[in-house]
C-alpha cells in the first residue's frame, strides 16, 4: 500500500514561483552585501553539540534539533543513566551533533577556527537555513533562512554607519520605500537605568521597556513595579513614555536625562555621531529614527541596536535587526574582538513585497518560448532552433510529444509562455517557423535564417 506523503510540521516545500521570488530578494541582498565589501562564508548544517548548547539560554537549548548517533547508540549509555529513563540526561549520551540554531554562533566558531587565515576587520555575509524546534504557527517555521552580515575586528562607528546605508540600499533596490530603521544604544539604556537608580535591575528594566509596543505604557510600568523597580524610579524614566518627537528633540531630552551618567553620555555620543554622519551622506528611501525603547536581546548587544520596521500601514513585525556585540568569539577562546552586524528577515520581507505587490511582473517567468510538436521530423527541426535560442540565454523548450495541439496550447498557457513557435510540415518545407505572441495573438513568420531577428525581439 502506497503511503500518502506529507512533510514535517513547520517545514515547507517551495514551488518554482516561490523560489523565483525568494531568489529575487536573496539576489538583491547578496548584491549589496558584496558592494559593501562583505564576503560569503558557509558553515555545516550541523555542528558538534557542545558548540551550540549553552549559547542560547535554557529555552534555546530545548529548541535545538539533535541528531541521533549512528549505529548501536544505546550501547554508549551507561546502565545508571539508562535506567533513569530521563530524557534530559540520556539525550547528550545518544547525540553528538545538532542542527544550527542561528548563523551567529557558527560564525563565531568559524572566526576562531580560521583566525590565522582571515584578514581583520573581517566582513562576512552568510545566507543559510537554520532550524528551531519551535511550536509552528502562522509565519513561524522550523526551518527558515537567515541572511546575516557582520564585521568582526573593528570597533569603528563607520561600521554602524555602513550597516544603516546597507539596509537603505537593499530596501531601495527592492523598491520597498519608507522603511524605518530604528536605532538605540545599549549604553543609553544602561545610563537610564543608572540615573533612575535601577542599575542593578537593568535587564528587567529593558525587558519591560521592550514590550511598550505590545502592552502599552501602563503594562510596562506594571511589569517594572512587579520586578522591584520603585515608583519613584519609574517616574524619573517618564520621558521614555512621552511621544518621541524628532531625533533632535530626543537627543536634547536624553542629554538632560543622562547628564549624570558617564556610560549614558558615551552612548549618546555614539548615537549622535551615527545620526550626523548618515544625515551628511543621506539615505535613499529609508528613515533613521532614535527609539530609546528598543532593546532586542539586550544581553547580547553592547553598543548600537537596530531594528527595521516595514513601511507605515503594513502590519508586520520587524523585517530586520542587529547591533554591536563585544567579545562574541570569547566563548571559543578569542578575546577582545568587537563585532557588529545586521540581519534581514527573508520570510517577512517576502510577505511585505507580496502585500504591496512589489515583485517585478516577470520575476517568476520560467519559459520564454515553447515550440509546439507536430511530429518527429518537425520536432527535430524545432530542437535545432531552440538549441540556438538556449545558447542565447532564452528559456526555451519543445513540447515532448505530438499531442493534440489544444493540449499543447493549454500547457503553454499554464506555463504563461509569452511566445509559441509553430513549425509544422508546411513550415519545415519552406525552412520557416511561425511565432505566435500569446497575449496579442499576433503571428509572425520567420525563415530559419532570420532566427537572430526573432531573438532580438525578445
Amino acid at each position: 500500500m502506497a503511503q500518502k506523503p506529507s512533510i514535517p510540521k513547520g517545514t515547507r516545500d517551495f514551488s518554482p514561483s516561490e523560489i523565483a521570488k525568494r531568489n529575487y530578494i536573496f539576489d538583491s541582498i547578496k548584491k549589496n552585501f558584496q558592494t559593501y565589501g562583505f564576503q560569503p562564508i558557509e558553515t555545516p548544517s550541523f555542528e558538534n553539540s557542545e558548540t551550540l548548547l549553552g549559547k542560547y539560554g535554557e529555552e534555546g537549548d530545548r529548541l535545538i534539533f539533535k541528531i541521533l548517533n549512528s549505529g548501536d547508540f544505546i550501547s554508549k549509555v551507561d546502565d545508571v543513566t539508562y535506567s533513569s529513563k530521563n530524557s534530559a540526561t540520556i539525550a547528550p549520551r545518544i547525540t553528538e551533533k545538532a542542527l544550527r540554531y542561528d548563523l551567529t554562533v557558527p560564525f563565531a566558531r568559524y572566526v576562531v577556527m580560521h583566525q590565522n587565515e582571515l584578514d581583520f576587520p573581517f566582513k562576512r555575509y552568510q545566507i543559510q537555513p537554520v532550524w528551531r524546534a519551535d511550536r509552528p504557527q502562522k509565519g513561524r517555521f522550523r526551518e527558515f533562512f537567515q541572511c546575516d552580515a557582520d564585521v568582526v575586528g573593528s570597533d569603528s562607528l563607520l561600521q554602524e554607519v555602513e550597516l544603516i546605508q546597507l539596509y537603505d540600499a537593499v530596501f531601495a533596490d527592492l523598491k520597498l520605500d519608507g522603511v524605518t530603521i530604528k536605532m538605540n544604544n545599549r549604553k543609553i539604556l544602561a545610563g537610564i537605568a543608572e540615573v533612575i537608580g535601577a542599575k542593578h535591575l537593568l535587564i528587567d528594566f529593558t525587558v519591560a521597556l521592550d514590550k511598550l509596543d505590545k502592552i502599552g505604557e501602563e503594562g510596562v510600568k506594571k511589569e517594572m513595579l512587579s520586578k522591584g523597580i520603585s515608583k519613584e524610579a519609574i517616574d524619573k524614566a517618564s520621558p521614555l513614555f512621552e511621544p518621541q518627537g524628532s531625533n533632535v528633540n530626543q537627543l536634547e531630552r536624553l542629554e538632560t536625562l543622562l547628564e549624570s551618567s558617564e556610560e549614558g553620555k558615551k552612548g549618546l555620543e555614539e548615537l549622535r555621531y551615527i545620526l550626523e554622519t548618515i544625515s551628511s551622506i543621506g539615505l535613499q528611501t529609508a528613515k533613521l529614527t532614535i527609539d530609546v525603547t528598543l532593546a532586542r536581546g539586550l544581553n547580547y548587544y553592547t553598543g548600537a541596536i537596530f531594528e527595521v520596521a516595514a513601511p507605515d500601514g503594513v502590519k508586520m513585525g520587524s523585517i530586520g535587526g542587529g547591533g554591536r556585540y563585544d567579545d562574541l568569539t570569547g566563548i571559543f577562546g578569542l578575546k577582545d574582538v568587537s563585532g557588529v552586524g545586521i540581519s534581514f528577515g527573508l520570510d517577512r520581507i517576502y510577505l511585505v513585497l507580496e502585500e504591496l505587490n512589489l515583485f517585478p511582473k516577470s520575476v517568476d517567468r520560467t519559459l520564454d518560448v515553447l515550440c509546439l510538436n507536430f511530429g518527429a521530423k518537425e520536432a527535430l527541426a524545432s530542437l535545432k532552433l531552440i538549441t540556438v535560442l538556449r545558447k542565447n540565454g532564452v528559456f526555451a523548450d519543445v513540447y515532448p510529444s505530438n499531442a493534440k495541439i489544444q493540449k499543447q496550447f493549454k500547457y503553454a498557457n499554464n506555463r504563461k509562455v509569452p511566445y509559441v513557435i509553430l513549425l509544422g510540415a508546411e513550415e519545415l518545407n519552406s525552412n520557416s517557423f511561425i511565432v505566435k505572441h500569446m497575449e496579442s495573438g499576433e503571428q509572425t513568420t520567420y525563415s530559419f535564417s532570420e532566427l537572430d531577428k526573432f531573438i532580438s525581439t525578445l
Copy 2:
C-alpha cells in the same frame, strides 16, 4: 575555560574563495537548467522518517541521519522495547524525522503531493545539500550538494536528447572541454542477460559488469561465475569485453548479439535514435559514446543510463550521471509516471576545474576598491565617494580606522584589491582623490566631479 572549537567529521566550512568558485559552477548549471526549461523547487532539509526509510536499501537506511524527537522522548518508548536496549528497535520510537539522503525521493514525494498544481511534463531542477552518515574519506563528505534536473510525465526520447545537450552546454560553459558522456540502456543489459541465458541473474550479471573498470575482465568473469552464471553464458557475452570501438561498430555488434531478444532490440532502437538525433544537432565540446558495461544503480533505471567522465588524463570518478526510471512516484501512490534525469557532481567538478586551472582569474574577487583612512574628516569624504561606487555595483570599502598606512596597504594586498584610493588632507582640500593601481603602482589623480570617469575605467 573556553572550548577549542571544531566541526563534525565529514563536514566542511567554506571560505569566501571556495564559495565564489562553487557559485561559479552553480550559476553555470542553473543558467543552463533554466534555458532548458527546468524550474527550481526546494524541499525541507528533513522529511518524515517514513518518507525516506526503506527507499535506499538496508545500507541506505543505516546512512540516514535521524533527528531526535524533542521533549521527553523516552516516555514514548514502551517498557518492553526500552528494556530490550536494542538501538534498531528503539530508534524509530524516538525519532520521527530524518535528514534527506538525496533529492530524488523528496522530489517524488513533492510531485505526488503537488500533482494537482503541476503542469506535466514537469521539468524541475533542485540544488540543495544532502546528508549521509557515511564513513568520511578523501572526497566523500557527510554533507554535500546535489544538483539534479529531472523531467516527469513524458516518455519521449527527446528528453534524453535534451539531457545530453544539457550536459554538453554546462561543461562547454565551464570551459571543461573533452568530457565523455557514456550512454547505455537497461533494456540492452536485460537483452544480453536474456540471450546468454542468464535472465534470472540480471542483477548479478550487471553488478559484476559494472565493475569492469575496477577489477578488469578476469575479475568480472570470476564474480559472474561465483554468482552462478555459467561459463558458457559468460563466453557468449564475450563481445562485451572486446575493445568497444566506435559507436557504429558497437551498434552493429549489439545488433547481432541481441537479434533474438525483443527487449534488447527495443533498447538498441532507443540508443540508436538518441545517437542519431544528437549527431544531427551536434554537441559543442562533449563526446557521446556507447558503453554497454555501464550499469549504475540498475534496479532504479529502466531505459537510458548516463554517466559523464572527466576529460582524458584527469583521474576522477564520474562527474555526473543519470537515466530513465519508470514509476518513481509509485512508492507514494502515483502510478505510471515516467521520469528521466541527470545530476552534476559538484565537488568533483570543482576538483577537476581546480586541477585544470579553469576557474576564471577574477572568480574570487571580493573587493574592487579600498579607500584608505586618513582620519575622521577624510574618511567621511571617502565614504561619500564609495557610496556612489557601490551604487554603481563596484565592490568598495573604506578602511574602518586610521591605522598606520602600511597596515592598511597590507590589508589591501591580502584582500587582493586592484585599486586603492588615497584621500588625505591635501586631497580633501582640493576636492580630489588619488587612485593607485596596485599591480602597476601607477597613480592617477581625479577631482571629485570626475568620479564617473574613474568608474568607467573599472
